[in-house]
């Protein structure tokens, strides 16, 4: 079953085309990695799918609802972990989690119990009463992800979730993301190819707003005749479009 069907989605800022007639389907419970250089259109695509930016043309259907006119009905099922950590710095870890759960309409008592579950899952229990601003970069990212998942979204957007993290923190976060696969549909943007290798069910390579190719790593290897994802990515973005 398709969680998301993107139909000729475009975004134009004045004369610049950020996303150009993007069409793609994403299956329920799948992790799709968007790969591309800075300014390729990855974040703009996520912003359109999450209701942050209005498409110039085209549409996307998320669980049967159109983003162009039914976004209010889609929003309860979405969540995001943006590029920045996007946490309330002076609230504690526990308060941040309760806050976001209540914003999505969860009752206070349920929000508290869910927050405890998330702190356990994300190994944040011993930092429960610490203000978010005092956490390390890795723990902030973990909290950001916990905030994205406490609302039990059907779709979660992870915009460069491991940016700036050390190897240990990155691996810890990968472990958490792997556990989500199958339950939640995840759209991930990243510059780290090893992250894509480790996590993605399917890979969509985007360049200058256009979708160049999408498929599993094996499918991309077969299409390009290349073995490593880095070679595949570079060959495609250098202009050798695969037929």
């Amino acid at each position: 079953m398709h969680a998301i069907t993107i139909e000729n989605l475009s975004k134009k800022y004045n004369d610049r085309i950020a996303v150009d007639r993007l069409s793609l389907t994403i299956n329920k419970g799948e992790l799709l990695a968007f790969l591309g250089f800075n300014g390729a259109g990855k974040t703009t695509t996520i912003k359109m799918l999450s209701g942050l930016v209005t498409p110039t043309s085209g549409d996307a259907v998320i669980f049967g609802k159109r983003i162009t006119n039914e976004m209010d009905e889609i929003k309860p099922y979405l969540n995001i972990s943006p590029q920045e950590t996007a946490i309330a710095p002076n609230l504690t870890v526990f308060e941040n989690l309760i806050f976001i759960a209540e914003v999505y309409g969860m009752k206070s008592i349920n929000a508290k119990s869910k927050a405890i579950d998330m702190m356990t899952k994300f190994d944040l229990v011993d930092r429960k009463n610490d203000k978010a601003k005092k956490l390390s970069g890795g723990l902030k990212r973990r909290l950001s992800l916990a905030m994205a998942l406490i609302t039990e979204p059907k779709i979660v957007f992870l915009d460069e979730p491991t940016l700036g993290l050390d190897v240990r923190a990155r691996r810890d976060l990968w472990k958490v993301i792997k556990e989500l696969k199958g339950e939640v549909t995840i759209i991930l943007t990243t510059h780290y190819l090893e992250e894509v290798n480790a996590l993605a069910d399917r890979i969509a390579i985007i360049d200058k707003g256009k979708l160049l190719v999408n498929g599993t790593l094996i499918e991309l290897q077969e299409k390009t005749g290349l073995n490593s994802l880095e070679d595949i990515f570079l060959s495609l973005t250098e202009g050798d479009i695969v037929k």
Partner: protein
């Protein structure tokens, strides 16, 4: 409910920083205590008499609401906290009211504390003092609206800069430190175009039961409050679209 949840978070953010409390409450209380006591001894000028200086100190203290609410919104933008919020089911009115009511609550606390200090210093507590409270909250809306505008359009460092200018403008054009009649000329004309002297005048007139003089200043202040809020809603919605 969502507006309340969002506002509760904003209160925690605003109150958890001791610098905010020092400026929004500590500094005005210190100014009031210091200047009124000093004036009692040296008779500097009538602006520092307790009945005159309490209203001007309250209006002056509202400038810090602009600064800290503006910085909070601006930081929420730069940290992408607002991005996370915009993906949530919250609506524009939840954000705008969720930023406004906590700051209005802080304004109310400022009013009670500064009136309390004023009463200790010899200001009379009458029914007119209580009548002035809703008027002060209308005045506070001018500053809250400005905070929303600055926070929606500027970086947090720019919010700090522009509100520092606002603090100076309010201090000099409100008649806080000296009677505007003493200066006169263009300075007095500009001060009367701006809402700050009218804000102080309204409170002085009401607390001294001089209601016949209130109307013109009241109309000017309400007009500024409405303009400020309309601009705030416009700026915030623009920020949401961007």
């Amino acid at each position: 409910m969502r507006t309340f949840v969002y506002g509760k978070r904003n209160i925690k953010e605003l109150f958890s920083d001791p610098v905010n409390l020092i400026f929004t409450i500590g500094l005005p209380v210190f100014l009031l205590l210091f200047m009124v006591t000093f004036n009692n001894s040296l008779q500097i000028n009538e602006s520092f008499e307790v009945e005159n200086f309490v209203p001007s100190t309250i209006v002056f203290s509202f400038t810090f609401l602009t600064m800290f609410s503006g910085m909070l919104i601006s930081k929420d933008r730069s940290s992408e906290f607002l991005t996370r919020m915009y993906v949530s089911p919250l609506k524009a009115h939840n954000y705008i009211l969720g930023y406004m009511w906590p700051v209005l609550l802080i304004a109310l606390i400022q009013i009670f504390i500064l009136y309390g200090v004023g009463i200790i210093l010899g200001m009379g507590l009458t029914i007119h003092t209580l009548i002035s409270i809703p008027l002060l909250l209308i005045i506070a809306m001018i500053f809250i609206g400005l905070g929303l505008v600055f926070g929606s359009l500027l970086k947090d460092s720019q919010v700090g800069g522009i509100t520092s200018i606002l603090i100076q403008v309010v201090a000099f054009t409100s008649g806080m430190w000296f009677s505007l009649d003493l200066v006169g000329g263009v300075f007095k004309t500009i001060s009367q175009i701006l809402p700050f002297a009218h804000s102080v005048d309204i409170v002085r007139y009401v607390t001294t039961a001089n209601y016949s003089k209130v109307l013109l200043s009241f109309i000017i202040v309400v007009t500024y409050a409405l303009i400020s809020i309309v601009f705030a809603i416009f700026a915030f919605r623009k920020n949401m679209k961007n």
